[in-house]
Amino acid sequence: MDDVAIKHDARIGQGWPFQIYKTLKKFGVAQISYVPDAGHAELIELSHGDRAIQTTVLTTEEEGVALSAGAWLGGDRAVLLMQSSGVGNCVNMFSLAASCRLPFLTLVTMRGEWAEFNPWQIPMGKATPQALEIIGVTVLRLDRAEDAEEVVSAAASLAFESDQQVAVLISQRMLGRKKWTETH
């Protein structure tokens, strides 16, 4: 099914998450795995609303690397959504995609790089591009919302057509300052 699932929800607009969603649909992505993340919330919601996409909630990000491998073996294209803090959890699991030369695509919302308020996010945020590169993952940056379709499309081609392991790092500045509101 190539049609995008249009949600009648005021929060779902035509912004970059929708552009990413449309691009993933164009590439026939049929599985999306994730851990809950505010930056990816809209894309996750769009995926849940699409009957042609199977969503899997993970307990740790590395599970998504293995899930993507299985999806490919079964004939599906998959994408892993995570935050930069999860990249370090995945490093050994990337040896699966590297050893078996499996396509792999992840979209990573960055923390620890722009107006970060949580010091614990800084070390992994700073190490994220290097951690990916030392294990062989190609890193692309998405810094401007208007580039979302082009960058994700390029990443998907590299992954699914050239059998590469690819991460798109989505700039924290583009995501906007995280607003922390307490709820009781």
Binding site: G64, V65, L67, L73, G74, G75, S95
Partner: protein, 89 residues
């Protein structure tokens, strides 16, 4: 004389895979890969000789994809989670 109740893993895996038909099997790490290979090479085997903890999720990915493409039973054998063996059908 004390009885020995130790399970011979290599033999147990062979017994599990008797008459496997088109069962898909994903292994995790060295020992489970050697066990499954020793039971007989099969096009339905996929060996993870590393990537600890990945076998069950590789199985889930195949299962989710198989819903539409090629429904068939399979089993994950992983030594990383001691003798965790699960069937996802």
């Amino acid at each position: 004389m004390a009885q020995n109740f130790t399970l011979d893993r290599r033999e147990a895996v062979k017994a599990l895979l008797v008459d496997r038909g088109d069962l898909l099997v994903v292994t995790g790490l060295g020992s489970s890969s050697y066990d499954v290979f020793d039971a007989g090479e099969h096009p339905g085997n996929y060996y993870l000789w590393g990537a600890m903890g990945g076998a069950a999720m590789v199985g889930l990915g195949i299962a989710l994809a198989s819903v539409s493409t090629m429904p068939r039973p399979f089993r994950v054998k992983s030594s990383a989670r001691s003798s965790c063996s699960r069937s996802l059908i």
